[in-house]
Amino acid sequence: MERNILHVDCNAFYASVEQQRRPELRGRPVAVCGREEDRHGIVLTASYPAKRLGVRTGMAVWQARQYCPELVVLPPDMGEYQRISRLARDIYEEYTDRVEPFGLDEAWLDVTGSVGLFGSPMEIARQISDRVRFELGLTVSIGVSDNKVTAKLGSDYKKPDAITRIERDNYVQVVYPLPVESLLYVGPATARKLRAIGMSTIGRLAQCPVEVLTGRLGKIGGVLHAFANGRDTSPVRRTDHAAGVKSVSNSATTPRDLVCDEDVHLMLLLLSESVSARMRELGCRCTVVEVGVRDAQLRSFTRQQKLTAPSCSSEELARTAFSLFRESYRWQCPVRSVGVRGAGLVPMDQCVQLSLYPEDQRREKWERIDAAVDRLRSRYGYHCVRRAAVTADPLLGRINPKDDHTVHPLGYFRG
């Protein structure tokens, strides 16, 4: 059956939210950037006037200032962006229950079942665009198509504040001339390979025999060939769809380099608390703990270990991660970033083999403590209760890995 898919993209989202609430910034080059003191000093989003002067997402702040000396640099306010993102999703959900967010600023909507109620997909796109402008003061670009990949091409096609319909009748005319990088899942590395064999546009990719692509790129070659031809059957997942999560991880580049075991231990405690809290939100425990380390020379490695029984205790995660770290790192140079991952997830309601050993009874106790901490924090704020260890270093200890600008985009091929 023919589907009707919209892809809605809030233009220059973080910068637009800031400009909405501070009218004096409208029309000026604005960039929302991570804090330079925390060494997150890159551009997260630039406003259109800043983009026109060459400022790009991912650029270092000093670099951006070279392109645009009068750039207004703002720190991110993730709480506000999440609030506005939720309000935008409220609008989408009045048109369909099939809303799949892609980061804070993008979402796919399957409106196949809604056309009888609200009018054609183009009409729905216009209503959404008008309402987001009126209710949230933001502009959106919307792509209208019969699949997710082409809908995303449509929303990228014309920005800001535009609606682009790409369907069978105008597909070749609109999509074929686009550079191959515009296609979802063609990153710099794949683009280089494709361009090396003359595939510079989506049209060329679409017309290339699929065997050539699978020969060069492997399995993804076939996927890209289908995408280039506007064939994508992946469903828009419902908002409440949480299945398919395979692991929960959190990492942080720290405000200063970590130079000793105590520093790393402190960070692993913070990260483990965040990972274990998110596992509890998902209602699962992990059976494998992984630690990831990147040193000051940007060399990185990961090590993992299976647990004796499923756990979501932050204490156990941190202890396992720290012992993995101690076994694997020899302090040739300071550490720049660390991460903790809980993998091999199992549902919390799954039966657990009880144990006679006191060690395993402690696990349950720790999980109860963690759950109590969750409740306190949701009521009185993150910093209302903390481990004594994290007060030892105020610079590292004030990091809140769970809520501090962490957006957890899910992969396109999840599940």
Partner: protein, 80 residues
């Protein structure tokens, strides 16, 4: 005309169904304005001074004025 975002104290009645009904807007000690009627409530972005929340269009002294509830605080776009 220049406007300023002014957070203001508001006397509010909680209705049985959970709706809020602003009764008095207190710009300052001397200027307390009773709200005669609420004409419209909807989510809206405030273009002039910035902000996103519930917009209460109120009738005050025979004049329409917009009162906004954003993240638990009330504000008006005051002419200056």
């Amino acid at each position: 005309m220049d406007r300023e975002k002014r957070y203001v104290p508001v006397v509010v009645r909680f209705e049985r169904d959970g709706r809020l009904r602003p009764l008095v807007i207190e710009l300052d000690e001397a200027r307390r304005y009773p709200v005669d009627r609420v004409l419209d409530v909807r989510r809206a972005a405030c273009g002039s001074v910035g902000g996103v929340g519930e917009r209460y269009t109120c009738l005050v002294n025979g004049q329409e004025c917009d009162l906004w509830l954003e993240k638990g605080r009330w504000f008006v776009a005051l002419k200056i």
